[in-house]
Symmetry: C2
Subunit: 351 residues, 2 copies
Amino acid sequence: ATTFRASEHQHMRYNPLQDEWVLVSAHRMKRPWQGQVEPPLLKTVARHDPHNPLCPGATRANGEVNPFYDGTFLFDNDFPALQPDAPNPGPSDHPLFQAEAARGVCKVMCFHPWSDVTLPLMSVPEIRAVVDAWASVTEELGARYPWVQIFENKGAMMGCSNPHPHCQVWASSFLPDIAQREERSQRAYQSQHGEPLLMEYGHQELLRKERLVLTSEHWLVLVPFWAVWPFQTLLLPRRHVQRLPELTPAERDDLASIMKKLLTKYDNLFETSFPYSMGWHGAPTGSEAGANWDHWQLHAHYYPPLLRSATVRKFMVGYEMLAQAQRDLTPEQAAERLRTLPEVHYRLGQK
Amino acid sequence: ATTFRASEHQHMRYNPLQDEWVLVSAHRMKRPWQGQVEPPLLKTVARHDPHNPLCPGATRANGEVNPFYDGTFLFDNDFPALQPDAPNPGPSDHPLFQAEAARGVCKVMCFHPWSDVTLPLMSVPEIRAVVDAWASVTEELGARYPWVQIFENKGAMMGCSNPHPHCQVWASSFLPDIAQREERSQRAYQSQHGEPLLMEYGHQELLRKERLVLTSEHWLVLVPFWAVWPFQTLLLPRRHVQRLPELTPAERDDLASIMKKLLTKYDNLFETSFPYSMGWHGAPTGSEAGANWDHWQLHAHYYPPLLRSATVRKFMVGYEMLAQAQRDLTPEQAAERLRTLPEVHYRLGQK
Ligand SMILES: O=P(O)(O)O[C@H]1O[C@H](CO)[C@@H](O)[C@H](O)[C@H]1O
Ligand SMILES: O=P(O)(O)O[C@H]1O[C@H](CO)[C@@H](O)[C@H](O)[C@H]1O
């Protein structure tokens, strides 16, 4: 019988955090690509555009004028998917027609006053200010809501409609689907094995090494064993930390520095401003924040769509939408490529 | 207190088939769109291109020459994600690192010898031939594999790399993730309520009417109460049918006709060749086919990405990838728009 080799033989892997399987078919990278190529990125973005509602001093859709901020800037999303006061849809009349109330707030956070920078092009102290702003907004909205979802859609390919560096924060009166899955899995793992799932996972990856991308005093970046997106990564603190506000000053500085390195590697991979969606998951907040959430470990997921080059992405379509996630290179191959890339940004190195 | 109106007040809806929630925020359609606009579609496709590996008489990547087929044509995918003989990855050494064997076959099915047609531009008898080919391939591969996933990725936006009208068939040695979810939900519903989930659901939608798009003697098309994609639809037989091969000749003819109407409406919505991924789900096959699968009802899902126009799509990104699916118009609004569209194709009407 042939010996199994992950890079040659398709197989399935289990994601114990979100309870789903992925089909890994690495031999598929050999096929030619004749499909859609993404439009090339707009090369130049003006540093300041008075008509861009995210810029300092600009007027927003609701008539408000932004301050001339010089660090991060947080404000209410002018077109929020969640509003604080939506009425309740009322009881369902049939088990197949269930609706429930959803309340919340949506905020936008600008990372920097300039439109022509991205996180990897910002300085470590500037990124540290973003980390502090993430911690504060989690604290502020977490006082009222059980889930505070911080996420960044970067790049037009990820539906980002504004080039100014920013993220979004959607706080909700409910635990969203994926939060519920992670809650269930982490709780079950803790009760079965007596330790948090992601603490043991990080520990194992430090021993196994083949999926590590970056390590620092307080953090790890790795391509998870069950990654779905080609260059997906998981960012984990080494210490058991439940939520962003708990991070110490030293952990925050170190986070800023490892994020800069990771995002620089991402940009260097295809020499482009690497698109992705990323977001933070931590223990639930709100009125239940005082309950026992020891099974939770804070983490960030990075989901970048590019597969082969700056313009050829992975499409998660037919089979993936109807049956199961599928990937075309192994997580170990992806980690190896990211690991060997320089930590100096290709645009800064050229200077 | 304000009266709840689904088209104005965000709320959540439950998908009992796939066990997940969607956030419905219809007021969000009011926001302006400044994000990515898709490249316009290639206007002209040659009817026959000898270099296109899907065309009659063309040579494929593996050197084989296609016959001069004049109906549908089924062949092995030259770059399959699933192969019949991959070795087993062996036992896992840790509960967080679980891998399993995956075996299967991937086929491609051409719908028509011409590259410049799509299903809605084909005649009802030509579409009926596709239905028959779907039933045969399910029977053929279902003899050996527990799951036969038929799916069509239509349009470059859905990762389709070839304009020639075709679909794919991936048969696997395992029940994929989404099949497992549907299996669990349908089994639980049947045991609790004594009838198949989708039979009762179709029945309810016929009574409620507001989400119906098309009805015929043997079929229903509706926008499900829990739809995620803007113009997502569910295609259901009226009779309790577990798998495609069981369809009677009358049901097959009627299916061809209702598919032509649905896809014509889709094209008419934004006067474009409407992109989507679609696929069939039926009871598991293979060696367990003889077991009791009464809780299963055959159905097809259509997942089209467009939201506002032929070039502005819905992005399922940050919040959707990290937290929960979110939609920007109600399923009832989508159904109403589709229902009122003509059943004559805009390109044929102009003639
Ligand atoms: O085999 P194709 O059509 O080239 O590939 C397309 O469909 C597959 C199945 O959904 C996906 O995995 C690919 O990402 C997509 O590009
Ligand atoms: O609010 P934005 O950035 O315009 O919108 C973007 O992110 C949202 C949250 O992931 C998505 O629902 C939208 O489809 C996407 O275009």
